[in-house]
Symmetry: C2
Subunit: 351 residues, 2 copies
């Protein structure tokens, strides 16, 4: 019987609530498909600052490194956002963790669920059949470049830099994914203005030669922000740098009708972390209205990654069942009487 | 009788076609409202490179500096986009011009036209009543920071920097605009990651104290990319830095149903330039399918800026008339039999 060590980082806001449901569902899957999950809980984010004064305590990092995979909730607390002078921020915990684990690729599948198609702000004809996956570079670019404020506090600098190898790693993953899908990669950049974008274009073109069956095209990020809404079906695999990926993948999340549905995997050569793409949604904390599906589907991606394909599929099917049965939280159904744990229970019962 | 010197920079692709219609309309307005427009045409962009090897020839800059306003078409040619080693690019012409004229604020109004509401990829209930204006900083940030590629070609850097004064200038404009509108400014940034964003937050908060009647709120750029589609009505005046503004304002352009409708003004303390927000659309060049309305409305913004309010309003009314009459190019009506010049003629006849 296979046994997996999972580092569990519930984090802030609704993080603990959605992680609670996810563990329930993972345990149900483990029982049915006969494997074991051992959870090792640890602190990260605002709660870690509150308790240890460090958004990524050593103990947390150690547990993550010792694990087969990391299950992550959410991070962020408004009390830090509006204080430009705060030296320690919750988000630093997540950024430092991504870096320390070498999680260079954030993978976000975006799909339109037929049953929820009318929940989207976009018209049915626009989103029907949308099925794309976004590969966002996650541990370089302007997020991780040097940053500073001048001594007089009157100017600030952020540096965006990229190395060829950083681009190569994630580009290969994107092309491999395309080969399993519809053989198309679209690079989003701003090559008409940025030097780093021109490097991306050059390197990605070279990698493309290793994958002759995959078509490669290019689109400027401003145009991409439009095309994503005008005609999302044109995309198969999107590849892009860190900051553009942050913006574009959140924008893409509205296609599915709720950001509460979308999972993500952050992968490196040695570790992998699974998290819903939504944030900590502090206003909803403790109200039982958080949608746990994004986190549960992240759990399914984790099982897939661990090689438990049948269990992963069973969770995905149960989620579909749940959606089709209209067992939805209030983000998807204003008149809903279901709370967070009802969704988890329903999915457990359908595995 | 008032006389204005207008530098006219048709540029690339469909630029010359839409500028041609705009001049027709401006002339009609000048005749009716009794003022004079003297045009001084000049080269910029790919066509300037082709003819002079310089995307912004000295003569062009001189004409712009000597003018009361600049009317700009479009810039860009695909033959330069896919050549990462090209040393001279059309876009450099526009960027250098913005910088040389000190055009620090790009102003983009976004409105939903009732008559065109079904052209939008977004649902009517989402966009109805949308009326916002975006203030994008235009001559600093990562666009204008130092950029370089390492000698071995294996890494590249772009620097994003901001000075307090740069933020103050555009912030004041945005707050003044809000005072004429619904008294709300939303700053889009990524203050949880970027040092420059934290400077923006700090400086904008200080400026806000000069405008106690205006409400200020903050939103992270990734969330903004979602909110813009989920609920565009929540925005009144959006204020943001250069790169975020590029992405967000193009995304916002889909609300109106076609990017072919949206004008913009780029203003500084001494000069102002007016351009449609769409690009050069090279595939459409010479086909008569370009929608001239964005350029014509940019012309109206120019007249407004010059103090010819009645003429500006007359153009805006004529455009509304044109839209309501269904006199539309094929971007807005697939079965349309109207070409670019038909739109210009119709608008002229309704002034
Ligand atoms: C919390 C924040 C630092 C993070 C990011 O921007 O990477 C989040 O928005 C995400 O996309 O995972
Ligand atoms: C052509 C390009 C350099 C320009 C920009 O990004 O500023 C354009 O996209 C715009 O938004 O005016």
């Amino acid at each position: 019987i296979n046994k997996y060590n999972i580092a569990v980082l519930p984090g802030d806001g609704i993080g603990p609530e959605v992680i609670h449901e996810t563990k329930k569902v993972l345990d149900a899957a483990a029982q049915t498909y006969v494997f074991q999950l051992q959870y090792h809980e640890a602190l990260i984010g605002a709660i870690a600052i509150d308790e240890t004064n460090d958004p990524l305590p050593q103990d947390t990092l150690a547990k993550c490194k010792a694990s087969d995979a990391v299950l992550f909730g959410a991070i962020g607390d408004p009390k830090y956002d509006n204080d430009p002078s705060a030296k320690i921020r919750p988000e630093q915990g997540l950024l430092a963790l991504r870096k320390a684990l070498g999680l260079y690729a954030n993978v976000r599948p975006v799909k339109a669920y037929q049953k929820l198609i009318d929940k989207s702000p976009l018209k049915e004809s626009i989103i029907q059949g949308t099925d794309m996956v976004i590969y966002r570079e996650l541990i370089s670019g302007i997020y991780f470049g040097d940053k500073s404020t001048s001594a007089d506090g009157k100017s600030a600098v952020d540096i965006c830099s990229y190395y060829q190898e950083e681009i190569e790693c994630i580009a290969r993953l994107a092309f491999k994914a395309a080969r399993q899908r519809n053989n198309k990669v679209t690079l989003i950049d701003k090559a008409n203005v940025l030097e780093t974008s021109r490097l991306w274009r050059k390197v990605v073109k070279t990698i493309a030669m290793e994958f002759p069956e995959v078509e490669l095209d290019f689109i400027f990020v401003d145009n991409a922000a439009m095309q994503l809404i005008l005609n999302p079906k044109q995309f198969d695999v999107i590849l892009t740098e860190n900051m553009f990926g942050d913006i574009i993948s959140d924008e893409a999340s509205v296609i599915g009708g709720s950001i509460g549905l979308l999972p993500s995997a952050s992968v490196g050569d040695e570790s992998a972390l699974f998290e819903p793409i939504h944030g900590s949604y502090p206003q909803a904390k403790g109200l039982g209205i958080a949608n746990p599906i994004a986190s549960i589907l992240s759990g399914a991606m984790m099982l897939e990654h661990l090689g438990e394909h049948d269990a992963a599929e069973a969770i995905q099917d149960a989620v579909l069942h749940c959606i089709n049965a209209g067992v939805l939280t209030s983000d998807l159904d204003k008149t809903s009487k279901f709370i967070t744990s009802d969704i988890g229970d329903y999915i457990c019962n359908h595995i």
